[in-house]
Symmetry: C2
Subunit: 283 residues, 2 copies
């Protein structure tokens, strides 16, 4: 890959993180930040997958109750993971996640933890980039996927805190290009409705808080096609022998689309997760 890009690429393999994704960093940081009184009330949230498992994992670490609202369409493998950590699951129709979560969590008096619009969550997600920059201090560039923007915002803050000269790239599926359009226009764009992309971790629009961070840090967004995402996921699997979910494979797809512009650069690339049913794989 280094030869192909004429660059040096250092991967941060969050696909091999607990719960199979960086999401556990934000959830753990949020849950461990709670006061004892808050923690005793338990936590809750809504998610179709990785954030749900992350909350369940974080709650199990602190030994407090956790309730997660999941859409009825959530993948069985992700439901099992949440259940495996001992969380209670409430199912709802796909469009009613937020309202159901509000009601269920208020009823229980639990603390709601948002998947990406929460400074504690953003700070937690930023620790992936923090570790990467500590390991490889002289990076010219750090690339991450962008969905809601918690990981990308945490990455901006962590990287520029230690290495102000590094450029931050965010990879976004073309089918959900609200971050790209928001940065291009300088105005937060509404989320894309029912986007069709394999990158099921990046379906949501970016949060307002994260958009502010992106503007302060001059985030550069690169959009990638579904074909480029599959090509990158296949490369990770066949050549690197690691399983990266399509959302995470957007990063390699974005780097490849920049091609010779990366010549001579030292690049950090955050592979966000590895939870996928491999539906994109064809022999």
């Amino acid at each position: 890959l280094d030869r192909e890009l004429g660059a040096r690429v250092f991967f941060k393999c969050e696909n091999q993180q607990k719960v199979g994704a960086f999401k556990c960093r934000g959830a753990v940081n949020a849950v461990l930040s709670l006061s004892d009184e808050e923690a005793s009330r338990g936590i809750g949230g809504h998610s179709s997958g990785n954030h749900a498992a992350a909350l369940a994992y974080a709650a199990a670490i602190r030994g407090i109750p956790c309730t997660v609202v999941m859409p009825e369409t959530a993948m069985a493998i992700k439901v099992d993971a949440v259940r495996g950590y001992g969380a209670e699951i409430v199912f709802c129709p796909e469009g009613e996640r937020a309202s159901t979560a509000k009601r269920v969590i208020e009823d229980k008096g639990a603390i709601f933890i948002h998947p990406f619009q929460d400074p504690r969550v953003i700070a937690g997600q930023g620790t992936a980039a923090l570790e990467l920059v500590e390991d490889v201090p002289d990076l010219d560039m750090v690339a991450v996927p962008v969905g809601g923007g918690g990981l990308a915002a945490g990455t901006c803050i962590a990287v520029h805190g230690l290495r102000p000269s590094a450029q931050i790239l965010a990879a976004e599926p073309l089918a959900v290009d609200d971050a790209h359009r928001s940065m291009a226009t300088g105005v937060l764009q509404p989320r894309v409705e029912k986007p069709q992309t394999l990158a099921d971790g990046l379906l949501t629009g970016i949060g307002e808080l994260n958009f502010q961070v992106f503007q302060e840090h001059g985030l550069r967004v690169i959009t990638v096609t579904e074909e480029q995402i599959v090509e990158a996921a296949r490369f990770h699997l066949q050549r690197m022998k690691i399983l990266v979910e399509p959302s995470g494979a957007t990063v390699l797809a974005a780097l490849r689309s920049l091609g010779s512009k990366l010549q001579g650069k030292r690049i950090g690339a955050i592979l966000s997760g590895g939870n996928t049913d491999l539906s994109w794989w064809e022999n």
Copy 2:
């Protein structure tokens, strides 16, 4: 996995080795052991896959010619890998590999390197276990797959040199159980003809030299079924997010089949390679 087995398992990930398998260790050691006169004649061998790529890689390192005889049925991905390292390929019918290689290599005056019946190759393969034992010195047990036996023999020698008390386990597909029967009877058994197993790196019978090593070191062979192999390969991919070829997944399959007998043990497990077309994967 540690919880499931009641043990601590340390994986040596040779699936992430150069050429995607431990085979490059033996080939590189053999090629770098040649005198300048020998090296100038070039090297050759026959293989359907990993050994072919390993020879090509080793020859490229030393900058000498390499000729590999491959069966016409070899997977395209493996043929491409060999070609990518710049080796010359001669194709032949599946049953005529050894005779074709003998003729072709004699014609060229090249040095023949056997995939597993060569002390330099065995020593090279043993360096995987050597590194593992250096990293984790207090292992009770080291598990490897067994096909021709080069990796298993090198592992016996390397592990017992540093850690005489450790037991060596070899995992073998039930469909190719010549190592198991050889150790049980104390007499080298003939190879299984046309074995039906997904573990395409373990089709060959064990070599006589390796059988002697196994007897000296009290190797214990555990046979595993095809279902157990697939189950283990799926675990590596889904839970560990790494791609392990069926031949390498025999090791986890064997450990799982021992179940509670591993209680409290510290176990090294050599995942031999990651070159597979995933034909065994089903969603």
